[in-house]
C-alpha cells in the first residue's frame, strides 16, 4: 500500500507539472502566432507595393516563430499620408513596419509642408536600391520634346518631387526641353495608367518590369537614365546599356556650381530607393531580429529570382545602420542647393511650398 501510495504521489506530481505552463512555453519566440503589418506608402501594384509583397513572401521564413505578414496600402500625397500617420502613431511593438520610397525623402528634403515626419528617426530595417531611374517618352511625342513651337510634352508626376523629376527639370532649364507637368498622381502605377490612357506622354521610373513591358508594346522610348553614381561618375544600368545617362545627354550643356550641386542633392534620394522601417524607438530586441531576417532574405536565391523577375535585374540591399547612414547622408543638403531646386519647380509651374 505504501509503495502504491508513493507511485500515486509521483504520478500526481507528474500531472501537476504536465498541466502547469512549461518554461519552454515561456521561451517561445516572440513572433510565434503573431502578425506583422507592412504598410505601403503608395498605391497597390506600384514598385513600393511590389517590393513589400516580395519581402512579405520571404521574411516570415527567417523570423523565429514564423509570424504572418500582412501588406496594406495607404497611398496618397507621394507617401506623406502614410508617413505622417506612421511617424505620429506607429506602435514600436515590433509588429508594425512600413515600406517607403524615395518620394517621401524628396518631400522631407525640400521641406514641403505636407511632410510631418523625419525619416532618419525611424528604426531602419534595410533598403533595396533597384538601380536608377529612366525617363520615358511616348514615341510619337518625342519630336515635340525639342521643338519649342510644338505642343508641350505632358509629363505626369506625383508631387513633382520624384528623383527622376530632376532630369525633366534640369532638361527643361539647360536643354530647353518642351515639357508641361501634371502633378497629383498617387503613384507610378497611377501615372502609368495615365500614360496608357494617353493623358500624359512622359514619366520616369526605376521599375524595369514596367519599362520593358512598355518597350515590348512599342509605345515608349527611354531618352535618359539618371545613372548609378560610382567613383565620381554616373554609369549606365547593366540592363539598359543603350540608354544614355543624363550627364551624357547634357553633354557640354552640363552646368557647374550651384545648379549642379542642386541636381546632385535632388538625385541623392534615389540612392536609398525602397526602404523598410519600423516606428521610432522600436526596441533593439525586435530590430535585431528584423534586420537579421532581411539580411537572410537578401541572400535567398528564390528572393533574388523573384526580384529580378518582377522588379529589376540589378539591385543592392543595405541592412539596418547602412540605411540609417545613407538616409542621413542624402537628407543633409546645403540650403542654397535646395532653394535652387525649389526655384526651378516654381519657375516651371510645379508647386513649391515655402520653407519650414
Amino acid at each position: 500500500m505504501k509503495k502504491c501510495g508513493g507511485s500515486l504521489l509521483l504520478f500526481l506530481l507528474f500531472m501537476v507539472f504536465w498541466w502547469a505552463p512549461s518554461p519552454g512555453h515561456a521561451a517561445a519566440p516572440f513572433y510565434q502566432g503573431k502578425t506583422i503589418e507592412i504598410l505601403g506608402e503608395s498605391r497597390v501594384g506600384g514598385g513600393t507595393d511590389t517590393m513589400a509583397r516580395i519581402i512579405a513572401t520571404f521574411l516570415p521564413k527567417y523570423i523565429p516563430g514564423n509570424p504572418s505578414i500582412v501588406v496594406r496600402a495607404m497611398p496618397g500625397g507621394a507617401g506623406a499620408i502614410a508617413n505622417n500617420i506612421f511617424y505620429a502613431k506607429g506602435k514600436p511593438d515590433g509588429l508594425h513596419l512600413m515600406m517607403n520610397s524615395s518620394s517621401p525623402i524628396s518631400l522631407q528634403l525640400r521641406s514641403r509642408d505636407i511632410a510631418k515626419y523625419d525619416l532618419t528617426k525611424y528604426s531602419h530595417v534595410g533598403h533595396i536600391n533597384r538601380g536608377t531611374n529612366l525617363l520615358l517618352v511616348r514615341k510619337d511625342a518625342l519630336k515635340r520634346l525639342t521643338d519649342p513651337k510644338a505642343e508641350p510634352v505632358v509629363c505626369g508626376t506625383k508631387e513633382g518631387e520624384e528623383t527622376w523629376m530632376a532630369m525633366g527639370l534640369w532638361g527643361r532649364e539647360f536643354l530647353g526641353w518642351n515639357i508641361r507637368w501634371i502633378p497629383g498622381y498617387s503613384g507610378t502605377s497611377d501615372i502609368e495608367m495615365a500614360f496608357q490612357r494617353r493623358e500624359i506622354d512622359m514619366f520616369g521610373t526605376t521599375n524595369a518590369f514596367i519599362i520593358k513591358r512598355l518597350q515590348e508594346e512599342g509605345s515608349i522610348t527611354p531618352i535618359s537614365q539618371g545613372g548609378i553614381y560610382k567613383n565620381g561618375k554616373f554609369i549606365r544600368r547593366k540592363d539598359f546599356p543603350d540608354v544614355p545617362t543624363f550627364v551624357e545627354v547634357l553633354g557640354k550643356k552640363k552646368p557647374t556650381g550651384l545648379p549642379w550641386q542642386a541636381y546632385m542633392a535632388w538625385v541623392g534620394a534615389g540612392d536609398v530607393d525602397k526602404f523598410l522601417v519600423a516606428p521610432r524607438n522600436t526596441p533593439k530586441q525586435y530590430m535585431s531580429i528584423l534586420t537579421s531576417a532581411l539580411e537572410k532574405v537578401s541572400k535567398d536565391p528564390k528572393f533574388d529570382e523573384m526580384v529580378k523577375r518582377m522588379v529589376s535585374e540589378i539591385y543592392d540591399v543595405g541592412i539596418g545602420e547602412e540605411t540609417t547612414n545613407l538616409l542621413k547622408e542624402v537628407l543633409t543638403v546645403p540650403p542654397e542647393a535646395l532653394d535652387y531646386g525649389r526655384n526651378l519647380q516654381t519657375k516651371f509651374g510645379l508647386i513649391a511650398d515655402k520653407k519650414k
Binding site: G5, L8, L9, L12, L13, M15, V16, W19, A20, P21, T35, E37, R43, V44, G45, T50, R53, I54, A56, T57, S68, I69, V70, V71, R72, A73, M74, P75, S189, M193
Partner: protein
C-alpha cells in the same frame, strides 16, 4: 496525515486541470459574425467591383478585409469597414489595381474579415475568372456561374441593338 495530503494533492490537480483549460464556448445568445460577397464569382476585368458585407459585429467595430494575393501574401484592403448600430457593414472592393497588376489572378480565394490586430473573424469564398483565357481553359464553376467572355457580351449587346432597330 498522508491521506490528507493525498486528498489535497488530488484537489490541487483537479483545480489546475480545470483552471488551465481555456474555455472557448461562446455565450449562447451571441450572434456569430458572418461575411459574404456579391457576386461570388466575378470576371477579372479592370472595372470589376466586389461588394463585401458582414453582420454580427460589435457596433462601431473596424473590420479589415483580407485575402491572400497571387504570391500567397496576406493582403488587407486599404480601407477598413465600420459596423453600424446593428453590427452590420458593407464595402466595395474596386479591383482595378489588383487585376491590372495581377495581384489577383484567376482561382478561388478566401475573403476574410479581421479585427484591427488581424485576427480573422469570418471567412467566405470568391471565385475570380480570367476572361482573357480561352473558354476551354475556364473552370466549370465559372461557366456555371454565368460568366461570359467579353466578346460574347459585345456580340450579345450588338444583337440586342439589332433587335431594337428592327422593332
Amino acid at each position: 496525515m498522508k491521506k490528507m495530503s493525498l486528498i489535497a494533492l488530488v484537489g490541487l490537480v483537479f483545480y489546475l486541470s480545470t483552471s488551465l483549460i481555456p474555455v472557448y464556448a461562446a455565450p449562447a445568445a451571441a450572434v456569430r459574425p458572418t461575411i459574404s460577397v456579391s457576386p461570388s464569382v466575378i470576371a477579372l476585368e479592370k472595372n470589376a467591383k466586389l461588394v463585401i458585407m458582414g453582420s454580427g459585429y460589435r457596433p462601431g467595430q473596424e473590420v479589415l478585409i483580407l485575402f491572400h494575393d497571387a504570391l500567397g501574401v496576406l493582403t488587407a484592403l486599404p480601407d477598413a469597414a465600420v459596423a453600424n448600430d446593428r453590427g452590420s457593414w458593407a464595402a466595395v472592393w474596386d479591383m482595378a489595381d489588383y487585376v491590372g497588376r495581377k495581384i489577383v489572378t484567376d482561382g478561388v480565394y478566401a475573403i476574410m474579415s479581421a479585427d484591427a490586430k488581424y485576427n480573422v473573424i469570418a471567412t467566405t469564398t470568391a471565385g475570380f475568372v480570367d476572361v482573357s483565357k480561352d473558354l476551354k481553359d475556364w473552370p466549370d464553376w465559372a461557366t456555371a456561374a454565368g460568366i461570359k467572355k467579353p466578346e460574347a457580351k459585345q456580340t450579345e449587346g450588338k444583337q440586342k441593338e439589332g433587335k431594337k432597330k428592327k422593332e
